[in-house]
Amino acid sequence: MCGIVGIYLKSEKFKDSLGSMLSDMLVNMSSRGSDSAGFAVYKEEDKEKNFKYSLCLNGIDYEKFKKEIENKITILNIEKNSDHVIIKAKNKPSDVIKILNKNFSKISIVGYGKSIEIFKQVGEPKNVVKKFNLKSFSGTHGIGHTRMATESAITTDGSHPYSTGEDECLVHNGSLSNHNNLRRKLKKGGINFHSENDTEVAAGYISKNLSNKKSLNDTLKGALKDLDGFYTFVVGTRKGFAVLRDEIACKPAVIAETDDYVAIASEFQAMAHLPDVNNAKIFEPEPGMVYSWGN
């Protein structure tokens, strides 16, 4: 199983309640997976377009880390949220990632970009959203995932969303059968992986194609050929998100669209509480079709 949720705001109306909407959706989807949960929230970029890094401390002492990292890079802002830290830095992403990997190998970089913030952890979705206080988040769009682990361990690195590129992330309900081969190919092409998870490979595949200047639409159409298995994917980008189901379409997805938002969930019950949802246009994304908003 696994549960997927996402909201893209078409107007400003629910900007401040994005976190609260997403939080209720995630908790509802506990029935589809309660091994771990995670979410990505996209906030507006700052004027200087500085990069932010979402890190999971994995038991490293925050104060000690803060002192050490401040000596190595130009930190503009550092904020602790439970066992995660969001740092905003002046340096180039490639430099920051190199420094983090070299000096703090125990820390996981769960994502980076100009607007994305990612939080994910093992445990029941209701505890995970509470711990990171998702209800307090505001933003333009967000996606989330509740996991029922099948093919790799229940760890932070095994949790979704997976982010393998700037402001990109992926959540997945399903399983891929050719991920080992594809991982080997992508590794040769310079993509780094941190888990044995199949979804991370799909995220790497998408990032690789996007970095080759392929459009998101073309990348996802290519995924239909190159990824073997079952999937409903939601791909988050800086501007919006996209949805793709494999051609057999065993893995569910429902979309509700109003003038103010587009919501996606594995099951309708996850969005039954959303404002004005009973007047929304509700439909299931067709198999093998790319749907996108804001991109």
Binding site: A249, P252, V254, E267, F268, Q269, A270, M271, A272, H273, N278, I282, F283, E284, E286, P287
Partner: protein, 227 residues
């Protein structure tokens, strides 16, 4: 009698409908605030009328016997799955596997269904006023599947003795499914179903009938490509 799922638990609502109070003999129910919950009205065995106001989740009206259930909204996966008798009417769209494995009764869907509508059906009659998704009627054994709109890929794949009627376009036929001749009896039967589903503007004559070529019943090496 109104049963509000915001006030009464789903388990209690189903329990009440599955074990009607004979002294009261109340047989008209309205369920409000379904909010996409699963298995609403599953396992009803008596004559009664239930209207659900809103969207329902998976397996709504599953295993139904005798009850008439109306869903005033969309239905999730497996609506009326394994129905034995009675009538289920979805006023919106239905998700995949509508009427799966059902032995009897009538399922009417005003909107569209997604994939695998009537999968392995064993005697149910299904009338879809809109279109059906891919692999509808897959391995269906008996009963009638009537589609007023279009059908997706691989319609009726590996079917046995179900009659499939489609008015619109069929994207492709599945293995061993072929178009068959419509005779007077078929048209008469089809018109009866259209009438039962309250469809007034369509005529049985305008539908095409599909059924089994019966070539996959026994193993033949010449058919190896179809297995």
């Amino acid at each position: 009698m109104e049963l509000d799922l915001k006030k009464i638990s789903l388990r209690d609502v189903n329990d009440k409908l599955q074990n009607l109070d004979r002294k009261q003999n109340q047989r008209d129910f309205i369920i409000t605030n379904p909010e996409g919950n699963h298995a609403i009205c599953a396992g009803l065995t008596e004559e009664m009328s239930v209207t659900i106001k809103g969207h329902v989740g998976y397996y709504c009206a599953g295993m139904n016997q005798k009850a008439h259930i109306t869903i005033d909204g969309n239905a999730g996966t497996g609506v009326a799955e394994n129905m034995m008798s009675g009538r289920v009417h979805v006023k919106g769209n239905a998700s995949q596997s509508a009427g799966a494995t059902a032995h009897g009764g009538l399922l009417i869907i005003d909107g569209d269904t997604s994939s695998r509508c009537g999968i392995s059906m064993k005697g149910i009659d299904i009338v879809v006023k809109g279109s059906v998704g891919h692999m509808s009627g897959f391995m269906s054994q008996s009963g009638n599947l009537i589609v007023c709109g279009d059908a997706g890929e691989a319609l009726g794949d590996s079917l046995y003795e179900t009659n499939i009627y489609v008015q619109g376009n069929v994207k492709s036929l599945g293995a061993d499914c072929v178009e068959k001749k419509m005779d007077k009896n078929h048209i008469k039967k089809l018109n009866k179903f259209l009438k039962e589903a309250d469809i007034k503007n369509l005529k049985g004559e305008n539908f095409k009938r599909y059924g089994s070529a019966r070539k996959l019943y026994n193993f033949k090496v010449d058919n190896i490509g179809n297995y």
